[in-house]
Chain length 313, copies 2
């Protein structure tokens, strides 16, 4: 059931950078994304088409996207909060868009200033807009269940609410439903259980990816649990960049370097050259010297005689 | 197959403190161990009966042991490198002794200055010494397979060598065989595979505990893998204290706080009051201010509405 290879979807340029105090200059973003792709990452979330007033770190997403589209074989993904963002993403020519739907309605109102009904309406409007495009210009459309393992404002969200959100995203035309542990509340047992429930509601093929955080240190254990449950796409961020917006001092996304090491050590191919990947930390540190870069494998180095799965393959 | 409750064996006062540059004063050790036991930890490795010239941090193990034995319900464990250490441990009245056997003979020679044959001879001598004791004074005797997932000097160690070491420990009279990822080389797949192999060689009942490190960030994922394989005893260290002796800047033992959080979140009882546990970090920081304390749960705090398994039970 578990996959022989996995897709690591690097979200550092989006989820990482949007939570940094400093702003990475456009040229540095483009060079970093190019280096990440050269290290073997096949999907990168390069930015977010949101209001530059809300997230000035993402103001250059258009330029960053256009440069990323020149990188051969790379799936260029962006986050969009609404139809307007999706339209900008389509204009830029992205391959994939992700619309977050926070299953905690309190969080949805606070973060996107929209109720569940309003987010679903945006999803429907995006689907209608995409339907007008020729097939080759139509990006993959993911709806993502944010705060799926609990919310810092509401606590646990009832499973029935989560499953209804998943069903409504599919009914609204999403091609895929992601599960996001925005708050780092998940644990291996709840990760497995929720994957099974959401798949039960919308079908196994509709749920292939998870977005996990490492807020309480369980990120890789949760990724392992998801992998054992048949998930084959994992969001992560180089250096766990960006920290956790709701918990100062705590880490944010799971660390790409450690995630890649875990899978390669298990003999599960990621296609990533881990040495080249780790080297890109220098690019981040050079322009964002005050940001903490997480990750244990870069500090400890690889085991003596370590052979990556994709080298052996 | 997986257990409903697990035993967390706190090794901070031994494996943590022996890798610290500073020396924790005896009274501070005793107070910290008392606080750890009060937080619900039922087994603590309080020190090591080794030469104080080699490890001055452990010179007061006798005094620390005697104070720990006054703590009701606590299993007091120590590490011993040889018969002489085991005799001192018995004289002090400990409940459990652990003799490490490094499956990498290079590491064994470097660390304990003994070949495999010589360590096995010590094990036999310890067994003979224990046999002379009345049953109620006889400590539990664990033989531990160090560097079981690879060695920083030798790299991977052949499985046949590891299994032969396990068999010889049992033949020499050990009551239990532990599996130790001294170097942080293990991954979830190799952890599961080795537990299965060692159990195949010496019997399921002889292998119930693992000692994992978090050197490359995989500590909790490896603990989860071991748990899924039926292991119910986990060594860990408060704050991941002590770092990694072979990799400066990298972390060492898995962090007790995060491990307890993982299990409790999964509904697996540890018996530990996680708030009381986290509070003991202050005692360590007060006397060892230069030591880095690891752990994400203490930084992020518990999830909103979090109910521990042992509170619910």
């Amino acid at each position: 059931m578990a996959a022989e290879s996995v897709l690591i979807s690097e979200v550092g340029p989006r989820d990482g950078l949007q939570n940094c105090k400093g702003i990475m200059p456009t040229a540095a973003k483009q060079a970093w994304i190019a280096a990440l792709a050269a290290a073997g990452l096949k999907e990168i979330e390069v930015g977010s088409f949101v209001s530059p007033k809300l997230l000035p770190q993402m103001a250059d997403t258009g330029e960053v996207t256009r440069a990323a589209l020149d990188l051969e074989g790379l799936t260029v993904a962006v986050l969009v909060p609404n139809l307007k963002g999706a339209q900008l993403a389509v204009d830029a020519g992205v391959h994939k868009i992700t619309l977050p739907l926070s299953v905690s309605e309190t969080h949805s109102l606070r973060n996107l200033r929209r109720t569940h009904d309003q987010v679903i309406d945006e999803a429907k409007a995006i689907t209608a807009m995409l339907a007008e495009l020729p097939a080759e210009k139509r990006p993959h459309f993911e709806g993502s269940l944010s705060t799926a393992f609990g919310c810092t404002l509401e606590g646990a969200v009832p499973e029935a609410t989560i499953l209804r959100c998943a069903e409504r995203l599919v009914e609204a035309g999403c091609h895929e439903v992601g599960i996001s542990d925005t708050t780092g509340y998940g644990d291996p047992k709840s990760v497995k259980a929720l994957i099974r429930s959401v798949r039960g509601a919308v079908g196994d093929d509709m749920v292939t990816g998870v977005h996990l955080h490492n807020t309480r240190g369980l990120g890789l254990a949760n990724a392992l649990a998801a992998y054992e449950e048949g998930i084959d796409t994992f969001d992560s961020s180089l250096g766990g960049l960006g920290g956790c917006p709701t918990a100062p001092g705590a880490s944010g996304n799971i660390v790409t370097e450690d995630l890649v090491f875990m899978f390669e050590a298990m003999g599960v191919s990621t296609g990533v050259d881990i040495d080249a990947l780790m080297k890109t930390r220098e690019q981040v540190a050079a322009v964002l010297p005050d940001e903490e870069l997480y990750g244990f494998t870069p500090r400890a180095g690889l085991p003596l005689g370590f052979a990556a799965a994709n080298v052996a393959a």
